[in-house]
């Protein structure tokens, strides 16, 4: 990975071309489980962003001091520490949002995306780049969660962020627990279709 990447490129890459939910297909559990409202997406997105950025920066700072043979345990310990911190903070200051997310905040510790970014990026790159990469990945996750939450909340309860916008409930199905799978699957197919369509029109020109 080249070092001359600008911060903007690093951030947009996380949101678009390497979106953790739709492109890398990692950390799908919350994307299906608690994406019933936009608010849930934002809250969990913030938690993941926090953990990702802090872990990336921590590992990047100490990258020369980490013995290669205990790399993975050190990553796990770092992530677990920051997850504990965000868990305590959310439980203390936002008890209602925390109750809605339930067990998923604690499960950030097992998110493949965070470990993967530490292994692939933060342990090689300087602190500044790791920071922006962490922001990009965290935002990418948050945007993905919000997009799914937007569709499910709008179609399922006719509201956005809890405000009634449609005045009726188009399809209750979308807010039901199992609909998460369908929404994610359909959105993935939609993005694939855009890509295929884009390539085809480019090829014709």
């Amino acid at each position: 990975m080249a070092n001359d990447k600008s911060s903007i490129q690093l951030v947009t890459r996380g949101i678009l071309s390497e979106n953790p939910i739709f492109k890398l297909a990692l950390s799908m559990c919350p994307a299906v489980g608690i994406s019933t409202t936009v608010m849930n997406g934002i809250m969990l997105g913030i938690a993941v962003l926090f953990v990702q950025v802090f872990s990336s920066v921590t590992i990047s700072i100490f990258k020369n001091m980490i013995h290669p043979r205990i790399r993975i345990p050190t990553y796990t310990l770092t992530i677990a520490t920051w997850v504990t911190v965000i868990d305590l903070v959310l439980a203390a200051y936002m008890p209602e949002a925390y109750a809605k997310m339930g067990i998923f905040v604690k499960l950030i510790v097992a998110f493949a995306i965070i470990t993967m970014r530490l292994e692939m990026f933060a342990c090689k790159e300087p602190v500044k780049d790791s920071f922006w990469d962490g922001i990009g990945m965290g935002l990418g996750f948050m945007v993905g969660m919000m997009a799914i939450g937007f569709i499910r909340e709008l179609l399922g309860s006719g509201a956005i962020l809890g405000h009634d916008v449609l005045g009726f409930k188009p399809l209750l199905f979308f807010i039901l627990p199992s609909a998460g799978f369908f929404v994610v699957g359909l959105m993935m197919a939609f993005f694939n279709w855009i890509e295929v369509y884009y390539k085809r029109t480019k090829g014709l020109q």
Partner: protein
């Protein structure tokens, strides 16, 4: 060998650092957590009593906490209540046997702060009762008074829902009709059982008289449109009251696709209020017969 030593040292150092971060965070957040929980509880209580956030609470209103314990000594069990006595830090521990007969009452000195903390309070009582007697905390009720007259009770409870437990808090008038219901915790399915936390469901319980609540059932029918509007507070206040009057003796309308959750809530509320009503009547009788003066 040298490798192992460096690995051990580095792991130890990183563990120490992690422990420091987590420990500091715990110290800073634990008091805030307690405070916020307390604030939330207070807010819910006042909302149930009809004082919305920001509303002025009159001076004459005061709240008294009563804690109920199940006391077991060797052979038999009895029920005990820890009651506030007067204005200062004195409490009264009143024991009543299972048939509702007065056993004894002893004063207990405890600061109000201590009484609020569950662990401290229980330890205090246990120390006062001695080794052979075991007191187990059962629940607590809150009595709201206005000018010395009881205006409402606040009670809580937990019962089995469709998935896991549903935790509720409600305000009950002195005649045991329901003043308000709040769902504190639940894990019902979103879109189905989770609708129990919506206003249109909770408001169905409002002003339901005790006699109607005793026999309340669940009907599987859609809520009539005009009633639904009233439940969502979308009509004028007089109309809301009119609808409440009209529907007060009727059954609870089931949430579409969540009859079991609805039934769980209505049965749970019914059971909590009925048990509570029985206990308060017994307690009042005992207090009156023994001429025990209480501030509520």
């Amino acid at each position: 060998m040298k490798d192992i030593i460096t690995i051990v040292i580095r792991l130890t150092v990183s563990c120490l650092m992690a422990a420091t971060v987590m420990g500091l965070c715990f110290i800073f957040t634990s008091s805030a957590k307690k405070h916020n929980e307390h604030v939330r509880e207070q807010r819910v209580m006042y909302e149930l009593l009809g004082y919305d956030a920001g509303a002025e609470i009159p001076e004459s209103v005061s709240l008294y906490e009563i804690y109920r314990y199940v006391v077991s000594r060797g052979t038999g069990q009895s029920i005990a209540y820890l009651l506030p006595e007067g204005e200062d830090d004195n409490f009264l521990f009143v024991e009543i046997d299972l048939d509702g007969k007065f056993l004894n009452a002893k004063p207990m000195e405890m600061s109000e702060q201590d009484a609020l903390e569950h662990d401290v309070r229980t330890k205090h009582i246990q120390a006062d009762l001695g080794e052979t007697v075991h007191a187990e905390f059962a629940d607590q009720i809150l009595i709201a008074t206005d000018d010395g007259k009881r205006t409402a009770y606040i009670i809580g409870g937990k019962f089995q829902g469709f998935k896991t437990f549903i935790n509720v808090m409600m305000a009950v008038k002195p005649d045991f009709s329901i003043l308000g219901l709040e769902i504190l915790e639940h894990e019902e399915d979103p879109g189905l059982g989770a609708e129990i936390e919506q206003d249109y469901f909770k408001n169905q319980f409002k002003d339901k008289p005790f006699e109607a609540l005793k026999v309340v059932d669940v009907v599987k029918a859609p809520i009539p449109d005009d009633y639904l509007k009233a439940l969502n507070n979308k009509v004028s206040e007089e109309d809301v009251l009119k609808f409440r009057e009209q529907y007060k003796d009727k059954d609870i309308y089931a949430i579409t696709g969540a009859t079991i959750s609805t039934r769980a809530v209505s049965n749970g509320v019914k059971a909590i209020v009925m048990k509570f009503a029985y206990r308060v009547t017994v307690l009042d009788k005992v207090l009156e017969a023994e001429h025990i003066a209480v501030p509520f």
